[in-house]
């Protein structure tokens, strides 16, 4: 395992995870979740679990982001809290 890549990706995972719950714009949260999923995908790929990485890229970063955006589109974009 290449530790510099690992460290950079892990930092991004934590940063996007914290940003996703603290951003008030729900559309931004959806995109941040997408970035988070993609970083997790890179992490799986670095660890050698290519099948899991593929699933994470297609389901986590791809389709679920579209579902989030669709849900934001048909509800509201701002959170109350």
């Amino acid at each position: 395992m290449l530790w510099p890549i690992d460290l950079i990706v892990l930092t991004f995972v934590i940063v996007t995870a914290v940003a996703a719950i603290s951003v008030r714009d729900l559309l931004g949260t959806a995109i941040l979740f997408s970035v988070y999923s993609f970083m997790m995908c890179l992490l799986w790929a670095v660890m050698g679990a290519v099948d899991v990485a593929f699933t994470e890229a297609s389901v986590g970063a791809g389709v679920s982001t579209v579902f989030f955006v669709a849900a934001v589109f048909s509800t509201s974009r701002r959170t109350k809290d």
Binding site: T55, V63, V66, A70, F73
Partner: protein, 274 residues
């Protein structure tokens, strides 16, 4: 209250991190997980199933029963979205655009309708002029995405991939069509009935292969008993059985993804969306 929540989150995080110190190291050969069953899979799977990708061999053959219910979960998710969100009452308001002049007409009562053709086209409420670049790029890209999805399903036992990933990619090609054109274009090509039937047929293919194996005298989902039915080398029959169930998974996931997207984006009315 916010401070209390923050303290609880921090404490939970600390305890979880403390708990991970007990877990075995990454790739430790003496960890319980790699002592008993994993050795059998790694040493014997290629000889027994003739599938080079061990992950697919474990998922679709040794743990086929698990994967069957995962497929059923995806099917149930699509069904739940349909049952919760579907709204059969069409909207009263309708918008038509006069193509030569670009004037948009707004009809408020249900009785009056215009014939959609070369002169008028029906448009969404938040209609934006369609961009030629986006439309053309998506129209060229969608067939390649679908071919790639079929490749991922068919090649799942040689390289990373399989029914779930291929089905999701195929379903997202439908979503791309709905986003780049509009939802009506998608609904004209793949009807609701088609998607509903296909999401059930996918699960049925999976269960059907298992039941056929039972009829042939083996255990449920024991693909080796299917050998007399298919005219191939009997050693290769388990790989072929896996391909069969992966196709079932792919069909079910593809239809379920499209159903979930269509119902969420149009609030169950299937008329206009993103």
């Amino acid at each position: 209250m916010k401070l209390l929540g923050f303290i609880i989150v921090c404490l939970t995080g600390i305890f979880l991190l403390y708990g991970t110190s007990d877990l075995p190291d990454w790739g430790d050969p003496n960890s319980p997980a790699s002592l008993h069953l994993s050795n059998h899979y790694i040493e014997k799977a290629v000889a027994e199933t003739e599938v080079p990708n061990l992950v697919t061999a474990v998922l679709a053959d040794y743990r086929g029963f698990d994967t069957m219910f995962e497929t059923a979960v995806v099917f149930t998710a699509g069904l739940a979205c349909f049952l919760l969100l579907r709204d059969f009452k069409p909207k009263q308001d309708r918008y038509y655009r006069h193509v030569p002049t670009g004037v948009v007409l707004h009809f408020k009562d249900k009785a009056r309708q215009l014939r959609v053709g070369t002169e008028f086209e029906s448009v969404d409420k938040d209609w934006v002029p369609s961009d030629m670049v986006i439309k053309t790029v998506c129209r060229i890209l969608i067939p390649f995405i679908q071919i790639y999805a079929l490749y991922v399903v068919a090649h799942g036992d040689f390289s990373p991939g399989g029914g779930f990933q291929g089905g999701v990619i195929f379903g997202s090609s439908f979503i791309l069509l709905a986003i780049s054109y509009n939802l009506k274009t998608l609904m004209k090509r793949v009807s609701e009935k088609f998607l509903g039937i296909f999401s059930a047929v996918g699960v049925l293919i999976y269960v059907g292969i298992g039941v056929i194996a039972m009829i042939m005298g083996g255990n449920f989902l024991d693909y080796s008993t299917l050998a007399p039915l298919v005219p191939v080398d009997p050693g290769h029959i388990r790989a072929l059985g896996m391909l069969g169930v992966e196709i079932g998974v792919g069909i079910a996931v593809m239809a379920a993804m499209a159903i979930i997207y269509i119902n969420i984006v149009s609030q169950g009315r299937h008329d206009e969306g993103l």
